[in-house]
Amino acid sequence: SQQGEEDPQALSIQEGENATMNCSYKTSINNLQWYRQNSGRGLVHLILIRSNEREKHSGRLRVTLDTSKKSSSLLITASRAADTASYFCAPVGGYNKLIFGAGTRLAVHP
């Protein structure tokens, strides 16, 4: 299955702390995408990392990809209460088909 599996299932931290979420998958990929979902804004694309990239940054987000281990991580630095959401990874093979896992539920406490 190309489904991403996120770990941990839930994460609770204080504002200002860093949050790290991991994703594992089983088949070869073209790229891997991370999405965020909260009740206010729905599902939003955060970042895409291509299979030939190892690390990518976007603002306070840092994503790594290790294709040899079939794993990726999402780091949110200096977290804010507004980062409270569910985070999903979606490994992509072809035809932009996203297969989401159950996600990591992040709670950032003021």
């Binding site: 073209n30 729905g42 932009n96 159950a102 996600g103």
Partner: protein
Amino acid sequence: EAGVVQSPRYKIIEKKQPVAFWCNPISGHNTLYWYLQNLGQGPELLIRYENEEAVDDSQLPKDRFSAERLKGVDSTLKIQPAELGDSAVYLCASSLGTGAYNEQFFGPGTRLTVL
């Protein structure tokens, strides 16, 4: 730029009743997706359209679910008859194309409750 529009946002029906959801994708986006999301789970693809053609409907329960995208713009997803297990959020998404690097933009979803 307007995002993906879905309506209604909420729908409550009794089992065995029909229900329909509507989606208007971002202007210019040729690819449209319908997803189902159960509580505590990630979205699952139901059907993908390229313009007006359904190119991947392998996950669509065709005995009760149907979809159409006339004229290759907006789309309707229908359930007839609805069952208790259909209670979920139905998400619509669109992208410029199906290339693997195309970002999908999601609508706010329709939360369906079947009583």
